[in-house]
Amino acid sequence: MTAAAVPAASPASTGEQPGVRLARSRRNAELSLLLLAMVLVAAYAATVEANVLDTVTTDFWIPAAALGLVFLGLHLVIRWLAPFADPALLPAVALLNGIGVGFLRRYDLAQATPEERETLAIFAGTGGRQLAWTLGAVVLAAALLAIMRDHRSLSRYAYTLGLAGIVLVMIPAVLPGRFSEVNGAKLWIIVPGLGQIQPGEFAKLALLAFFAYYLVRKREVLSLASRRVLGIDFPRGRDLGPVLVVWMISLLVLVFEKDLGTSLLYFGMFVVTLYIATERVSWLLIGLILFFGGAYLAYVLGSTVGGPFANFYDRAQIWLDPFAEPYDRGYQLVQGLLTLGTGGLFGAGPGGGQPTLLPEVQTDFIFAGIGEEIGLFGLSALLVIYLLIVERGLRAALAVRDSFGKLLAGGLAFTLGLQVFVIVGGISKLIPLTGQTTPFLSAGGSSLMANWLLIAVLLRVSDGARRPVTGGGGPAARPAGGPPEQLHGAPTEVIRP
């Protein structure tokens, strides 16, 4: 099954060598999963057309085919550049992305007049733009795989990346609102006439690479020097410095960019990488206490002082009782909850819902919009797919051999999971709603590109983790001659026990 990719990795001589297992690259499994995912995307498009147009047009399959083609391209790039990468990642992400494009196209159909519906061009509307963004994002991911042949090379640019990350986070906060504010959150860089990007999405990746590098350097100090209080090891006061700095940054994001989700994301990301690096539960406790303390403080300040904290206070109020003002501030959340309720267990069928009634259904509330049509049964499948992606990322982190890779992959996988939690928790009224994108589903180029880059890094790390050890003890040891010669020179003759 894996015949195509195996010879490249293990020299011809391995066949007769005992003790050598042919490493399985599983690329063919990836290909067949990918085909199944694309069949699903096409089936979704056909069902939508049957429901909305009452007929299936002859070219319903074109967006699915376009997606399939570009994912196939990425699959070939993986075959070539990362042959041992995890086989489940690409198909799972491809399915989510395809369903996202399909739903956005379905949203365009709902908005179009009946005459326009029959002739909706492939790159028209939100769905078409999302399709175009997907093509771009996948090309970007392939480029990253091509440039970064070893994830460890990323650690060389750690400080540059860290600086770039902080700058990217800070730009929207200092720009005047005209260039950075959309729907009350200052998260954007808007170039009038050209478009807008959300730099925070990319900053996430850059900051994580920096965190991973910093913590690999500092892990000894952070995990060894400690005081024991109540059976838990707490770090020394001066080691708390970096945590407090990141805490301050995330609070500033909360205040100046008016965005709880992003601030929760950055802080959670840092605390979890810290936890992975040191294996200290105390860091999780400190992190949770700091975050909840900060959020509560912002809530209290918002109710008394107002000003920059007012936005957060508003959101918390809506969360506590969305039905207090169901046609005003609570409208969006109430509509979202009603939408999920309408979907019920099995949903109204793709194309059978009313996504136009839900504000921001193409971005923040896409999960509710999809939920109306595929129901709890379908939504849980999507959530399981997210779970599998995160699991594969964590698995890569466990299997990879260097600490930087472990922290990088673990942190990235956790970040993806946390982001899904923040937005899905928000629309289902588990936590206050914040404007996070749903990875791979929501309309929006920045988020799509950043998340595909994240997947490219995970693919690269998992390739490094699963690749069988071939070349001596790393690059430095290789020129020193083959190991067998040295062993033959050893004085002891081996006698078996």
């Binding site: 293990s10 391995t14 007769e16 060598q17 005992p18 003790g19 050598v20 297992r21 490493a23 599983r26 499994a29 999963l33 199944l36 995912a37 699903l40 089936a43 979704y44 056909a46 069902t47 049957a50 007929t55 299936v56 086989p87 489940a88 000894e220 099995f346 069928g349 059978g352 595929i374 129901g375 049964f377 379908g378 499948a381 399981v384 797919i385 599998l388 699991e391 466990l398 299997a399 051999r401 260097d402 600490s403 699963r466 069988p468 050890v469 071939t470 001596g472 003890g473 790393g474 690059p475 430095a476 040891a477 190991p483 067998p484 062993l487 050893a490 002891t492 081996v494 078996r496 026990p497």
Partner: protein
């Protein structure tokens, strides 16, 4: 469109979605157990093939199953698995080691595992605190049986089939 077709499409899509999920889980599952299973199944034919195709010399050494994985069983990297190839594995704190261990009692270049004729040998590289095979200190290249812990500082490693 008849109602029936739409209902079939609607539920068909949901079922297909879950089929996809379970197929992915299946691939992951096969991936997880691939090492253990292929080891068991392939062990016998391999020995037969070796005795016919090659001189009898190596057959003596590799009685029993061949090692396919190096597993860290204790220490900071516990749970790490390395798929064994035909190249040596170097262990130590140096960044260019195959297995970089961050153990306070390990040297920069602590030990190495070398395959020869199907058997893995552990060799100490002049470490400060020594390498132990089970309870015995390793002084020269020593064959490592399956499942016997190699101890380096606070880290333990084992060969697994």
């Amino acid at each position: 469109m008849p109602e029936l077709v739409i209902t079939v499409a609607r539920f068909g899509f949901l079922i297909l979605l879950w089929i996809f999920v379970f197929t992915v889980v299946g691939v992951i599952r096969r991936d997880l157990f691939a090492g253990a299973r292929s080891g068991r199944l392939v062990a016998a034919p391999r020995a037969v093939g070796a005795s016919t195709g090659q001189p009898a010399k190596p057959a003596k050494v590799k009685r029993g199953r061949a090692a396919h994985q190096l597993v860290v069983t204790a220490g900071q990297l516990a749970g790490t698995r390395i798929t064994l190839g035909e190249a040596q594995i170097t262990i130590g704190r140096a960044e260019d080691s195959t297995l970089v261990i961050t153990d306070d009692y390990a040297s920069a270049r602590h030990a190495r595992l070398v395959p020869r004729e199907g058997q893995w040998f552990v060799e100490d590289l002049g470490s400060t605190n020594g390498t132990y095979l089970d309870r015995a200190k390793v002084t020269g290249p020593t064959p490592v049986p399956l499942g016997v812990p190699i101890r380096i500082g606070r880290t333990s490693l084992e060969l697994r089939p």
